[in-house]
Structures are given as structure tokens and as C-alpha cells.
Subunit: 538 residues, 2 copies
């Protein structure tokens, strides 16, 4: 079998070869114009120029209602290629798979006349296991210029991932232009310096860091992703992880004091106050976000919100009494609830981290289970849809091995094999409850990734393994995956992805002397267990 | 006049608009398949999918022998667009100009349905003043990943620049895979740390830095550039600026001692020895380089080679006597001469910095005048072809203003207006001598540009001004340029170029506390005058 990744449901070899050449043409119904254009562009390293469209092309793209959503049927004979998709997305994934049947040089950006542009005849039938195959990209801790985000989207498409969870706001930076509140980016889009490494004693680099996306940039990113069948799900953090917003608009905070955009990592005590005006502010922000992002889901954050500032503030305590809530968790649920009402009224659903299960939130809320799988179990049993992204399996900021050379090693080692073992559906769920698990995603937090080069190192090839775990049938075998991954790395080389090599970081991927904070599996398990005690099922 | 940049020779407005829409089609002879493909791709933000090719398209591309090389004639009426080029390059530049007649949103990477995709009818006739319109990119001091180089090539094409001088080797890093000598990249492609800022006392960052291009990467870059009518001229430094090579192969050095890849900036005493085996080594390197780069010119460096190590070494002094050379300059000329013979025998010409004028070099050698214009005058008078790149006008690592906020401010302030004043032909030359000036280029040295984001800041918009100086008629007026540049910045915004804003660096483009080394114009002039005394015309 050629090294298809993700692994297909069905692969049947045939005899002979289809050869890409001057006689190759493409045909497709008009509704597939986007997929044809993508294929024409993707094949240019082989063909030199866009494949001509003909009424009966040697490559034929069609939509077949017999196939399910995102499914495809790719039939290659020496004479022609017939690609049928259950929908346009299915056709697109068939095109993406077709590319993997060619030499890796097809992933280069200019003509490669040296390569043998023939495809061994075969039949591939495939369809994804999950409808949400995601990656979260944190553009707040370290900003990635727009063109790097577009490149990341291309890498996602190459792996048939279909959701970009776009983490846009944080204590350390606000990255999306909001027309009504310009100071969010004027003030909030940059910080004075950055903590270098992990731990409270870690030094700072003394270098300002910043950047943001204009609304035109956002529209471009969203449409670029759409053309690759990727939904961009925005996330605006609240009521914690908001210090960049507080720096811009101190009146949103509990104390009202002027704060700098945060320059350290870790959970931050400064949270939003619960005034009606603050709720209104975030509703207005979300209105602009909703206008920019057609995603059915709008992320409102909800994670790691400390309650101390609220509880210590007499005015907030009065407000709690007024609202009839008894504790911090209740107040957080009240706040999230207001945003949820607003988002729901606009025909969308909120998407939040598993901490939102600490209170009652609307059943339409989609829950991202990140502190292991406890949130997934609780949410599904309480009737919420779930995205699984357990930190110990798919957090791509976690160190990649036990090697001391890993750059800024934090948390536990999550190897490629660990990532490949990703199973989004908790065994504790009944078949019916399991229906609530829409899929999973890898999370790329960028505290320790200060450039796209570093993101390459942390994301790949673990993200390749996760992409297969989210697409392919549940029965998987790492030893079968490994040789396919080796071939896949040649594709990443052709793209220019600076992935982690199996032997460890290259010398220039290391960060000697920058403190990490590695932990053991046992230590991490104990810590997480304590964190999720208040949302665990009895 | 719409904001064409570079400014065209002829622009005549006409009445009415040509509207890009579902009926727009393109036609061209087969020889222009590359230009059609580029235009189809470039217009996708407007059209949504590649313009269909028809026998008589509403956009017609042709080659007209009546026009000169690189010239074009672009005739836009409400009914159709007729674009004739003197050659394929001329057609390409006409396409590039056509894009500038559309809203800046055309430079985005996905469909922009909001924009008004109409073009005011007009006639544009244009041809470049110089045949060498270049930019030198230093990938050795700081490595740029391949995809960032491709992006830089796109930015060059957008400005009708046609030569990428690719600076691939340095004391601080060797960036090109040489199959015969793998240690050049195994050892030479990374350094342990990097000097932070200018000056001997500047601290180091303690962070390894590295990266290199495989030969497949190089082929991809070369062809990608070719498709945009850009020649990539490689440069392998010798006999100085070689410490990365010495780290890999100590036997190439005068002392033979093991050296690290250099972690500091500035001129380095460690140079190549002048053994036959070392000449042979570099000939073998150049053979692989010549195979990879079809450029008629092959850069061999030649700049800033200190002679002290040679003169202090008894063995080298014996060698000098044996070779019949009297001084360090003579020895340098001997070394360059051997490489020149080799390059010439393979049908190419050497390209070197103006220090090669310190001795006799073959008349076919192309000289880059960087220490002001003295080298240009001397070279042209001695019968050499010349590329002008005077440091005080086109060195884009020099600070951009007198503001204290400029990041790591070095040398003199070179403003956009200074860059716009670039005149590649020295007034001292006769008309016949002036024929030797093939053109000019901007040089982007990356000691203080540690990421593509920083390169954006230093390069733009000065490179936009230089592109016009190299293309447009000699009579220019900065006050006429300024408003066109303002419109052009909207294009750079759409591309996502983080150029320097007129008001100065954004907070996150600053490098507080990192030492620069600013100098005054007078100080710089005195310094350069002394440097070039030995090549100045009597």
C-alpha cells in the first residue's frame, strides 16, 4: 500500500500506472470549481501549468449522493482517474489523497521535471470517523503573521483536518481588530517583554512582542480555510485570561486599575468584573466576531478563571447577592450564560473549555475536554456535545521525549506514539452518550514557541499522528503507522516543515539554559485529578 | 494616474471600465503558459477560480517583437484587455502592472467578494531602465526557511525586480547542501549562539541558530524564481567570510586549527589558505553550485578578506614567493583568478564585491560596488561590468531614520527618500563606460534581522523605492512618489508585509536596550574613503 496518511478504510491495488502528462485534463461539475482550482494548483509541480478543463477529462471529479459527507471513492486506472465525493469536501479529500500517491516532490512550489509523475493504479475508499478534526492555534502568546497562519491552514488541509480553533485573545495579547474598541489592539496587541522559559523565576527577554489581524486579514484567513474545507472557530477568552483587554480598558476589571499586557506565563488573578457594562462590552465584541466568522461555534473561553478577585471584592459580593449566585463558580456560570444567550440569539453555539461544567450552562454549549477526559465524560453524560483534547495526549506544547535536549521541556513527555494513541471517545460512555463526541483536536499553545519554525518543531509529526487518529478507523497499530509516517516526512520535507526528527531536536532546535518544568505522568495525573474534582461524575 | 509602482513611461487614461466577472476569459499563445498561469492564480481573489482560457479571451496576452526585452504595452478598454510584451518577461510585468490597477485586496490569498473588481480603462506603456534590478538576501547571518524565501521572491516579483542575489555562506553559517562535502552543513549550518546587537561588547543570546537548504530546496527556489522572471545568482564567499567552512573542514584554513562557526558579527581574521587542495575544494563546491543555478553569474565573494593571517604565516609566504605574488592583495587576486578560470571554463562569469578590484581579475568579472560608488567608477573604467549597490543608499540593514527608537540602529540613516534617490550610473563615467553599469541592487544583510518579520521591517518600503529607481526613467520626484507609495502600502498590507510605518517603528518592532552603532554621514564618508583608497581611480 502506498503511504496514505491518514490510513484509508479500503485500498485495492490495480495493475498499471496513470501518467500525468500533457494529455492530462480535468472535468468536474461547476459546483466543484473550488476543488478543481485547488487540484490544478496542487499539481503544478508535476504539470507545469494548470490542468486544462475538458468536457470529459482524464481526471473526473463528481459528487455522488451514495457516499456520505466527506467520504470519497478514488478509482485510478491507467486510462483515467475517477474521483467521486459524497460532497465537495469529500472530493477535496480525494484530491488531497491523490497527491499522496505521487512523489513527495509534488509538495514543492515549482515545477519538478525530474520526478516520475505516474500513479500506481488503485482504488481508495475512505471517509472520516469524526466530523471535528481540529487543531487549536494560540496566536495570543506568540503572534503568527497572517501568511504563516495561511501556511498552517495548508498543512492542516494536507492532513484532512477540518477545524482551526483560533485562539485570539489572552493575558499576553489581543490579536483581532475590533472596530468598536480600537484600544484592544492599539494597547492590547503588544507586550513589553516575554518570559523566557517556564517557572516563576524564569527570566524575561526584554524584547517587545506584538501583532494583530485586521478584520480584512480575518476575512482572508476564514475564506482561505473555507476553500480547504476548514472551519475557523474563533475564541475570545473570558472571564479570565483577559489581561490584555484590561490593559486596554481598565474599567473591565475588578479593581479598575491600569495593568500592563501580561509579560509572564501561567494563570493570572486579573479577571473581568461582572458589571452589565462589561457583559455588554463582550457582547459587542462577539457581535463583530460573529460577523467575521461563519462558524456555527463561537469560543468564549471559560478556562482557568481564578475566583479570588471576585470573592475579595465587596462590590462583586454585593453583585453576587443581587444575582442570587452563591460562589465564584456560580458567578462564572452566570457570566458565561449571558454570553451564551447572546451567541444563541444570533444562531450560533458557544464553545468553551471544560471548566464551564463547573456551573450550569446551556445544553447547546460545546465543551472542550482538556484536563484529561473527565470533562468529556461529564459533558456527554450531562447532554453536551464534546470535543476531546486531553492534555496528556494532544497538547503539542508538552515535551516530545524524555531527552534533556528537548527545548524548554514542560509537563509530561507526549511522544508521537502517545499522540497516535489518541481516542476521543471515553470508554465510560454509553453508545448513545458517545454520540455527543463530535471529535477531537490538538492544542498548540505557544508560550514556548516564539516563531513559526518552533511551531513546526512542536507540531510535527505529532499532528500527523493525531490527524490519522481523528480520521481513520479505531483499530490502529503504531508499528504499521511508523513506516507510513517515514514516507510522510518526505512530504513535510518538501513543504519545508521543520518537524522533530525521531532522534531528537537538531542542535538549532534546542534551547540550552532556558528553564523548562518537566513533570512525571504520576505527578501530572495527581494534579489534574485534583483540578477536575469539581466536575467529575459522582 | 493610478498608483502604479514603478512609475510607467506612458500612462493615458481612457473612458469607462473593464469589469472582471464571470465572462472574463484569457487567451495567449502556448509559449506564455507560465504567465497565463501566474495571472490566473493572481486574479483568484477577484474571480474565485482560474480564468478560463478561450481562443479569443477578453484578456489577451501576446508577444510582440516590436517591443524591447521586458517591455510591455497594456491597453485596457471596457471590452477587453490587450497585453503585449516584448518577451515573456514583458508580458509578466504587464500582468504585474495590471494587478496594481485593481483594488489592493487582489493581493490577498482568497476570494474578496466585497471589492469592486473593475479597472479604469487606460493605456500603459513601459520598459525598465536597467536589466539588473536586484536584491541581495543574506541567508547566512540569519537563516530564512525556504517558504519565507519563496515569499520574498513573490515580493520581488510584485516590484518587477529580476535578480535575487542569494548570499549563502558566511562566517556565521553555511546554508547550501554540498553533496561532496556534507560537513559544510552538518557542522557549518548552525552556530552555538548569536551576538545581540552591534559592537565588540555586545552580549550574546545563548541560543543556537541554524538551518540550510537541501539541493532540492535550491532547485525549487531557482525554478520558482524563474517562473517570476527572477534569476537567482548564488554567492559562495571566499577567501574571507569562510569561518563556517573552516569549522567543518579545518584543513581549509591557514592554521588548520579547529574553529567554531563564528558567533560574532564583523570582519573575521580567519581566511582560506591558498593550497591547491583548497582551490580544488572550492572548485568542487562551485561545480555543484553551477549545476544547481543556471545564472550566468556565480558569486565568489571577495569582500572584506583580511590579509594578516596570510602575511604572518611562513608557509603562506613561501607559497606567495612560489606563485610570484608580492602582497596580500596579489594573493587574493591569485585565488579569485583560479576560481574565475574555473567558472569561465564552465561558461559562466564570476560576480564579486568591489574588493576584487584590488588586483587584476578577468575582464568578464562582474563587480558589485558596495563601498559607495568608487568601485563602480573604477570597474567601469577598467572595462568590467558593474552592479551598483552603494551602502549609503541601498543597504537595508542601515537604520531608517535618526529616531532613537529604530531597532539596533547601525551606520547612517538611509530613509525612503534616500533610497529613492538611488542612481546606479556614476556621473564620472563617459556614455560608453556607463554601458558597463548593468543595474543595481539593494542589499539585505541580516545580522540584525533575526526573522522574516524583521526583514519585512527593514526591507519595506525602502525596497519599493529602490525598485522604482531601477525600473523607471531617471527623472524622478520624491513628492510625486510619496502619494503613490501611500497607495502601494495598502498592497503591502494586503500581502501582510510588516513594513516600517512613516512615523517610525511600532512598539513591537523596537529593540530597546540592544546596542546599535550609529554613525554620521561625515564619519561614514571618511571611513569608506579610506577603505577604497586602493581601488580609487587616480
Amino acid at each position: 500500500m502506498p503511504s496514505l496518511l491518514p490510513r484509508p478504510k479500503t485500498f485495492l491495488p490495480r495493475s498499471g500506472y496513470f501518467r500525468l502528462g500533457p494529455d492530462t485534463t480535468v472535468s468536474a461539475p461547476e459546483e466543484l470549481f473550488n476543488e478543481v482550482a485547488w487540484l490544478q494548483s496542487a499539481l503544478r509541480p508535476a504539470t507545469g501549468f494548470p490542468l486544462p478543463e475538458r468536457d470529459a477529462g482524464t481526471i473526473r471529479l463528481t459528487v455522488s449522493e451514495e457516499l456520505g459527507p466527506e467520504a470519497f471513492h478514488l478509482d485510478i486506472t491507467p486510462e483515467r482517474i475517477e474521483l467521486a465525493g459524497g460532497d465537495a469536501a469529500g472530493v477535496f479529500y480525494g484530491c488531497v489523497a491523490l497527491l499522496q500517491l505521487l512523489p513527495a516532490a509534488v509538495y514543492r512550489k515549482s515545477l519538478v521535471p525530474e520526478a516520475d509523475w505516474s500513479i500506481a493504479a488503485c482504488l481508495v475508499e475512505d471517509a472520516p470517523r469524526f466530523g471535528w478534526r481540529g487543531a487549536m492555534l494560540d496566536t495570543a502568546r506568540h503572534f503568527q503573521p497572517k501568511h504563516d497562519v495561511l501556511r498552517f491552514i495548508d498543512l492542516m488541509a494536507m492532513h484532512r483536518l477540518n477545524v482551526l480553533h483560533f485562539h485570539l485573545t489572552e493575558d499576553q495579547g489581543w490579536r483581532i481588530e475590533i472596530l468598536r474598541y480600537p484600544r484592544l489592539t492599539e494597547v492590547g496587541a503588544w507586550r513589553r517583554e516575554t518570559q523566557l522559559g517556564a517557572g516563576e523565576d524564569a527570566p524575561s527577554d526584554g524584547r517587545p512582542h506584538g501583532g494583530f489581524y485586521t478584520q480584512d486579514d480575518i476575512r482572508e484567513i476564514v475564506r482561505y480555510a473555507q476553500q480547504r474545507h476548514i472551519t475557523v472557530v474563533p475564541e475570545i477568552e473570558s472571564p479570565g485570561h483577559v489581561q490584555a483587554a484590561l490593559a486596554a480598558y481598565p474599567e473591565l476589571g475588578v479593581s479598575g486599575q491600569q495593568l500592563p499586557v501580561f509579560t509572564r506565563w501561567g494563570v493570572n488573578p486579573n479577571v473581568l468584573n461582572v458589571e452589565d457594562s462589561t457583559v455588554e462590552f463582550f457582547k459587542n465584541v462577539l457581535d463583530e466576531v460573529i460577523e467575521l466568522f461563519p462558524s456555527p461555534f463561537i469560543g468564549i473561553g471559560g478556562d482557568e478563571c481564578p475566583k479570588e478577585q471576585w470573592l475579595a471584592d465587596p462590590h462583586t459580593r454585593e453583585r453576587m447577592a443581587e444575582l442570587g449566585v452563591e460562589d465564584g463558580e456560580g458567578l462564572q456560570a452566570w457570566f458565561i450564560g449571558r454570553l451564551a444567550e447572546h451567541v444563541t440569539a444570533r444562531g450560533r453555539r458557544i464553545f468553551g473549555w471544560d471548566e464551564i461544567l463547573e456551573g450550569e450552562v446551556p445544553k447547546t454549549a460545546l465543551v472542550a475536554s482538556w484536563r484529561g477526559m473527565t470533562g468529556a465524560v461529564t459533558a456527554a453524560k450531562r447532554g453536551h456535545d464534546v470535543i476531546s483534547c486531553p492534555d496528556d495526549v494532544v497538547y503539542l506544547d508538552y515535551r516530545q521525549s524524555e531527552l534533556a535536549e528537548e527545548p524548554i521541556p514542560v509537563a509530561i513527555a507526549v511522544t508521537v506514539e502517545d499522540a497516535y494513541s489518541f481516542e476521543p471517545v471515553p470508554a465510560e460512555l454509553t453508545a448513545q452518550e458517545a454520540q455527543h463526541v463530535l471529535g477531537g483536536q490538538a492544542n498548540i499553545w505557544t508560550e514556548y514557541m516564539d516563531s513559526p519554525r518552533t511551531i513546526d518543531y512542536f507540531a510535527f509529526p505529532r499532528l500527523s499522528a493525531i490527524a490519522e487518529a481523528l480520521w481513520s478507523p479505531v483499530e490502529r497499530d503504531f508499528s504499521e503507522f511508523e513506516p507510513r509516517l517515514a514516507d510522510h516526512l518526505a512530504r513535510l520535507d518538501a513543504v519545508g516543515v521543520e518537524y522533530r526528527h525521531a532522534a531528537g531536536p537538531l542542535p538549532w532546535q534546542q534551547r540550552p539554559g532556558i528553564p523548562g518544568r518537566p513533570s512525571s505522568r504520576a505527578g501530572r495525573d495527581a494534579f489534574i485529578e485534583q483540578l477536575v474534582a469539581n466536575i467529575a461524575q459522582p
